[in-house]
């Protein structure tokens, strides 16, 4: 879903894409003064947007070892020089995982992936055909399994469709709520897990008991049937379904300024 939608909002008739809505929604989830472990994909854009809008004191941590990076342009990779130049501290990769991520010091971990299931488990490894002889070989785990395990909470940001929101993962790379219920606690994972899933259809949150991801907010211009049709399982919908606030003019203009700082598409 890349078509732009026109939504009448308090800020007027701003036009924005569903991807912009996703990025803005992700940025809004980041509290000022908290620390955020920025993984692969859209997260870096969202975190930098948050830092330039409501969360100037957001601490950006990249797995390359940069603590408190304050880039003035979007980095093209998680190891860009701008991150080291602007960081409070640059530490080794073993240290970033052992001293900073593993003990649960980081409030929010950002994850995406090729597949997510109804319990927020994620696959970034292989699609189809089995592990030994995959149909599609993906990049693999990277920092994701331990971000998913150890951050105080996880934010998943993914485009929603039946190929990505699936009944059964082809490979479990990172654990959300496992097989649901209190499985995550039984596994001994200490962070709260994926408390929010932001898609181009809206927002999903885990049911407090079953931990099944449930549609709780619809994106602008999206209806429930669209969301259900884009989901590979029988999507539950919250009794009180909310809706996302469209991006404000400020959010949109800052986001577009940010994106203009890079030429080659999504930062990673």
């Amino acid at each position: 879903m890349t078509a732009s939608v026109s939504a009448g909002t308090s800020t007027g008739d701003a036009e924005f894409t569903a991807d912009e809505m996703m990025t803005v929604a992700a940025a809004r989830s980041l509290g000022d003064g908290t620390a955020c472990f920025v993984g692969i994909g859209l997260p870096s854009t969202a975190a930098n947007l948050a830092r330039r809008t409501h969360a100037p004191d957001l601490v950006l941590i990249y797995e390359s070892g940069t603590l408190g990076a304050k880039p003035d342009q979007l980095p093209l990779s998680i190891g860009d020089g701008i991150l080291a130049d602007t960081a409070d501290s640059v530490v080794s990769v073993p240290e970033i995982f052992n001293y900073w991520l593993q003990p649960g010091r980081v409030e929010t971990g950002f994850l995406g992936g090729a597949q997510v299931d109804k319990y927020g488990n994620i696959n970034t490894t292989v699609i189809g055909g089995g592990y030994e002889d995959p149909k599609v070989r993906l990049p693999g785990a990277g920092g994701a399994p331990e971000i998913a395990a150890s951050c105080q909470q996880v934010l998943i940001v993914m485009r929603q469709n039946t190929r990505s929101f699936v009944e059964t993962l082809d490979f479990v790379t990172s654990v959300g709520y496992g097989s649901g219920g209190d499985d995550r606690e039984r596994l001994g994972l200490r962070g709260a897990g994926p408390v929010t899933v932001i898609t181009d259809m809206g927002v999903l949150e885990p049911d407090p008991d079953t931990r099944e991801l449930t549609l709780t907010r619809l994106g602008p211009g999206v209806d429930v049937e669209q969301a259900r049709a884009a989901t590979g399982w029988d999507l539950r919908v919250a009794d009180e379904l909310g809706s996302q606030h469209p991006p404000t003019e400020t959010e949109l203009s800052v986001l577009r300024e940010l994106k203009a700082t890079i030429e080659n598409g999504e930062s990673t």
Partner: protein, 273 residues
């Protein structure tokens, strides 16, 4: 005690067929020229280790140097897939490629154990994932104090560890700065090590964030200006983002790749990049 060598001499001396070789570098300071020299010397049957195999590993794999890849994230950062890597594991071209797959935290701790002279490292990791089902170097260990079960990964001690740094002095002491990843651990975990550097200076001036490897901890140093291109060397040159984009086009096609290999590497006295 490190000795100063030409790159081709150092690779000939340190890297043999069948070796376990780690060329490390986390986006920054990737030892690309050393990788190209390994291709040029037609090494075979290597077990290549790296947390983030990217373009230079795609090239090594496509050139048929590797029979196994030990890694935690394989991709062309900011661009997409590694097509030579996918062709090797999905279609065994040009040779079959075995894989040993970890998470970043696991790989980093394998190097830490290797650098520490320990047979394994303990971490909170992998729990509930499918990785331990496929990777023998992941097991569990019980805490002798609390009884808690934790992940254990075996130490990684490559035969050869290769990194790129900004500077060496004439004695062979090395300094790098900026994002330094697992490079220190790689050198300390390896049986033999090669550091390529941007330049040789009279004296290393300590830098903020500088990581120093004393000469007696390094086997060989080779001066290779631009040796990390198309990645970057902080203080020397920027990342060549176009190269990564272009690689996507070259690497998608076996013939284009073969042409690139012949003209840019095998027939070149030294790689232009």
């Amino acid at each position: 005690m490190s000795r100063t060598r030409q790159l081709d001499e150092a690779v000939a001396e340190l890297v043999g067929d069948g070796d376990v070789v780690a060329l490390e570098g986390f986006t920054h300071l990737i030892p690309v020229a050393a990788g190209h020299e390994i291709i040029r010397q037609r090494r075979r049957d290597l077990t290549l280790c790296r947390m983030t195999p990217d373009v230079v590993y795609d090239q090594l794999i496509g050139a048929g140097c590797a029979s196994k890849l030990v890694f935690s994230w394989g991709g062309n950062p900011g661009v997409g897939s590694l097509h030579r890597f996918r062709d090797a594991i999905q279609r065994s071209w040009p040779v079959p490629l075995e894989i040993e797959e970890h998470s970043h935290a696991g790989m980093a701790n394998r190097y830490v154990a290797g650098a520490s002279g320990l047979p394994f490292a303990v971490l909170r990791g992998y729990t509930g994932t499918d990785l331990p089902k496929h990777t023998d170097s992941i097991k569990t260990v019980s805490c002798p104090f609390t009884g808690e079960e934790l992940a254990a990964v075996s130490a990684l001690n490559p035969d050869v560890g290769i990194i790129h740094a900004q500077q060496a002095d004439k004695q062979g002491n090395v300094q790098m700065w900026g994002i330094t990843g697992v490079q220190k651990e790689t050198v300390l975990a390896a049986k033999r090590s090669l550091v390529t550097v941007e330049e040789t200076v009279d004296e290393l001036v300590p830098r903020p964030g500088g990581v120093v490897l004393p000469k007696w901890a390094v086997t060989a140093v080779a001066e290779v200006p631009g040796g990390a291109r198309p990645s970057y060397a902080q203080g020397y040159y920027e990342r060549d983002n176009d190269y990564y984009q272009q690689w996507d086009l070259i690497s998608r096609d076996r013939e284009k790749f073969q042409q690139w290999l012949d003209t840019e590497i095998l027939d070149a006295e030294r790689s232009p990049r």
